[in-house]
Symmetry: C2
Subunit: 337 residues, 2 copies
């Protein structure tokens, strides 16, 4: 799922996403509750109508962004009280309010309000996050009045026993889908993979499993092999804006001198509108000069590349060749640039 924080995928207009057969985008409840706010979105006929995206929308609960406002928030059993750094306004996000927001947006997939512990964290802190996440999952489920599907979220940091212990009551709540939360918040690649594999195993295989906020093309393949079905990640757009392109041969840091006269496309095998037409030399020049089109063009390529990579993975599943599929290397080209 491309990430459309404020209802727009940065640098990639929706007509492209439709043309590329993208079926679902993610939008952020935290950002949308602030501006334009639930009332404006509801009066517009819901989030699909407001943002002009007729296909599926998944929203997070707003919890993740709120939790990262460590200086501006206070978590209690009831919910999270916080001040928006943008305008200083005070808010109180409870499971019930998070459900009211997402139901009012009319999204296709809503997420329970959860507590995502930072990394590293004291074990006590992870335990508390698990306890509240579970309690809030129940409250979210009782409060959510549709029209979409509500997914539960598994937390537990990197503590295997806490993940295991949390999964049991969470699965008993019988959500139509589950997310793996608390991953890729600063822990090592090996820890991310281990937690993903464990979590996917603990969640029902017959229901969609969604890994939140991950990752590189190689991460996606590894996670699909572990049983994950859905992903969202800002990497293709955020890194695109910073001048990093994903390719079948690894990640390209386009501003590097070595691309100054490189007339090859970002990825010779890519069929995106950027690779069909533009060279690395051209894109590098635009980036060096900070041209407005430069971050846009790399974002277009990266989102296309990610969607194409997921299509490749789906095709490998369909043809029974997933285990032999090779993922793009993780190295940056040039290394250390």
């Amino acid at each position: 799922m491309p990430v459309g924080t404020r209802g727009a995928v940065k640098g990639v207009a929706f007509d492209r996403l439709e043309e590329w057969d993208c079926r679902v985008v993610l939008a952020n409840t935290y950002h949308l509750m602030a501006r334009p706010g639930l009332e404006v979105i509801a009066r517009a006929g819901g989030l699909h109508a407001f943002i002009g995206w007729p296909r599926a929308i998944l929203t997070d609960s707003g919890g993740f962004q709120v939790m990262s406002l460590s200086a501006h928030r206070r978590i209690t059993e009831e919910g999270v009280e916080f001040r928006m750094p943008e305008d200083g306004t005070k808010h109180f996000l409870t499971p019930e309010r998070a459900m009211e927001l997402q139901a009012g947006f009319g999204v296709d997939v809503a997420m329970v309000l959860d507590v995502c512990p930072p990394f590293p964290a004291e074990r006590r802190e992870v335990e508390e996050a698990c306890r509240w996440t579970l309690a809030w999952a129940g409250r979210s489920k009782r409060a959510y009045a549709g029209p979409g599907l509500l997914f539960g979220i598994l937390q537990g940091g990197t503590e295997e026993d806490l993940r295991r212990a949390s999964a049991v009551p969470l699965v008993e709540l019988d959500f139509p889908g589950y997310a793996i939360g608390g991953v890729a918040v600063g822990e090592s690649k090996a820890a991310i993979r281990a937690v993903t594999e464990l979590s996917a195993e603990l969640l029902p295989a017959e229901k969609p499993r969604y890994l939140m906020g991950v990752g590189t093309p190689a991460d996606l393949l590894a996670s699909v092999r572990a049983g994950v079905d859905l992903f969202d990640c800002v990497l293709p757009t955020r890194n695109g804006r910073m001048g990093h392109a994903y390719t079948a041969r690894g990640e390209i840091a386009i501003k590097h001198e070595r691309f100054k006269e490189d007339l090859a496309p970002l990825d010779p095998a890519c069929a995106c509108p950027v690779c069909r037409r533009h060279s690395r030399a051209y894109l590098r020049n635009l980036f060096v000069l900070k041209d407005f089109s430069a971050p846009m063009l790399l974002s277009i390529h990266n989102v296309f590349f990610y969607l194409a990579w997921m299509r490749t993975i789906r095709a490998a599943i369909a043809s029974g060749t997933l285990s032999s599929l090779a993922s793009p290397p993780e190295e940056k080209i040039p290394e250390g640039a």
Copy 2:
């Protein structure tokens, strides 16, 4: 002609321009000679290959940008010596060098090196600009070795007699097309229109007449009625990035509060990818939040709108109804916002 300063139309990828039947873009010699430089572009196979635009390209001579570096340049009869503020490098742009650059780029339409006086200017200064522009037009013509067409440029500021006196020898040089320069550099709307009408009249009607750097949709219509065939202008992209949208009802300042819940598209009659899908309320919210997609989406709309407006004008010429065609009003909506 959409403006592609560094070989990219800011915010509007070339696949869109091709789809919208855009046949020519403008690129700036000044910017391209600095980076990536003639040698890199020539080794890439020319500017079409380097920027990935197979259709026509028109370049200015670089003169206009150099002339505006008033603190960093010295004009002599030989040419212009200047320092690039970006990197402090010293350059000497002569008519011969401007021709070498544009011939090396391999563009379809090249422009002579001219001297564009500022506004307001002493009459003596405008006279000198005319004299040098004429001498440089002759030198440019002798030096230009193709492959494109080389256009002459008429200067003369707002001085009617200087425009008239300059036109005679310029037309004698028998260029395949002519540009009207020195317009829209700070003078009044009425002066722009008067100079355009006079200049178009002084230049051969059977050759393309190109008005440089103009203007609003209403300016385009008035200039076409005066006989102008070609335009370039940064307004659709620059104003788009600033949050101003052109519509059949006037210019919209999208950030204004009054659009907060306005669910209409920018222009209900527009068929662009933005108007087919997005509301003013949505675009306003993205602009207020400085989302990266906001300037992109308004640029997409504006460039589409300008190309569609020129199609409308061409259709009116073809059907003999140009005199009754009404242009979009010049007012901003909301006024004074």
